[in-house]
Symmetry: C2
Subunit: 259 residues, 2 copies
């Protein structure tokens, strides 16, 4: 049976994250997985089960989440994409569809992932938070030293034990991960973005990295303090977990694909 | 008594426009004027009546709307701005406050206004509408010739009878207005923006100008057809009224102020 790999994008503001969740009072919550799966069932008229690569949290956005499902019918790919998009709500889009091997797993076949964390720090008219992009960036009223943040980020690159950068009861056997690159770039209008890619990420890892880099940007720590935080292997050593709205899952790389 | 001039910005998505409106079923609708006035009453503990320069429609945004009110108390300006902003919802901001003459009228003292209309036209992955900026731009699936649109826009500059560019029962004595400048600029990722400034604008004028320029961009008319539309002095001659989400009131100029 044909298996389809979907690259999808969503504005996470009005979703309760990726993963299907049942609430005792509200019933099935509006999650990306639920909306995508129900739309696919409606369009394909088959019992579709959608698996996603990354369980993004409530409020987190995606430009390049990857999901997959297997159905009986052979669809012409552009037709399937158009049929899904015409039924999906305006905060969720299928950006690409490919036919993949029937053993393809969006989770275990992923080679690397890239995230972006967007930050606004003070504005020209005093200290007003962002207005038009308030759902897509974290706001801090403090001025940030972006060069210091970028220097600090370089200490994260490579294979490290990231135990300091995940929540205490993370439930993972190993907290060793490899970060391929981490850059902090200044943007116009007192904004900056953190871009980080790696072999895999622990729960809340990017949001704790962002909180730690903001501490450096505010001058609370020197850039090389990041090495001390890594060595501590303790959540208490790192900065706070920044809110979900600044985070966006940008891409996921698979063998043979270019991110 | 001191009179205060406020420069305000809002994300119009969740407002029923500027003007206070009473709905028979829903009661007082959530309008910018209502929210601002109630916040000012709460903060100032006086019976504030807010007057705005421009009655923006439901869904229309503002970076530089101007409003004014007179109260008894002399406030230190940054304190009044901070007190208002701390109470306003996150889709409405006071960007600046000035003390003005007690006869200042935001409506009749305005010298000129500037609007922007944002358009997205097709995307790299086929024909998907905008996702993250869908509340802030109009989407057309057709490719647009931005140079032709800019050339067409030049025919609008100057003093003209804009009867073709307002709704049929506009209720205005004269439909003659002066457009100071109108530019159409290409932006990254298949987007463009129309920027128009003038002495004053008729009801729906910018949205009808945008619809007419999109017709030119699609190749339905040559750029100089705009002159024929002006000469017709008939709403039927111009393009359609584009939706409100693409429109943003950018600034309003007053004597002695720089926009």
């Amino acid at each position: 049976m044909p298996r389809y790999k979907l690259t999808i994008a969503y504005d996470g503001t009005d979703f309760h994250g990726w993963q299907m969740q049942h609430d005792a009072v509200k019933g099935e919550l509006r999650t990306v997985q639920l909306v995508l799966q129900e739309t696919a069932r409606h369009v394909c008229r088959e019992n579709v089960r959608v698996v996603g690569a990354s369980r993004t949290d409530s409020g987190v956005h995606a430009e390049g989440q990857v999901a997959a499902f297997t159905i009986e019918r052979d669809w012409e790919l552009p037709r399937l994409a158009a049929a899904l998009n015409s039924r999906l709500p305006d905060d969720l889009q299928v950006r690409a569809i490919e036919l993949v091997d029937e053993r393809f797993s969006p989770i275990s076949d992923a080679v690397s992932k890239g995230y972006r964390y967007a930050i606004a720090h003070s504005r020209r008219d005093g200290l007003l938070p962002p207005l038009f992009d308030r759902h897509f960036s974290y706001w801090t009223p403090y001025p940030l030293d972006v060069d210091a943040m970028h220097a600090a980020a370089q200490h994260l690159v490579g294979e490290h034990d990231f135990a300091s950068f995940t929540r205490v009861n993370h439930g993972r056997e190993s907290t060793v991960r490899t970060v391929h690159a981490c850059t902090v770039t200044a943007e116009h209008d007192h904004r900056c973005r953190i871009e980080i890619s790696g072999s895999g990420f622990l729960y809340n890892m990017v949001r704790i990295v962002a909180g730690t880099l903001v501490d450096v940007g505010r001058g609370r720590h020197a850039p090389d303090h990041v090495r001390t935080i890594l060595d501590a292997r303790s959540r208490a050593a790192a900065g706070s977990t920044l809110p979900p709205e600044g985070l966006c899952l940008m891409w996921i790389e698979y063998p043979g694909s270019t991110p």
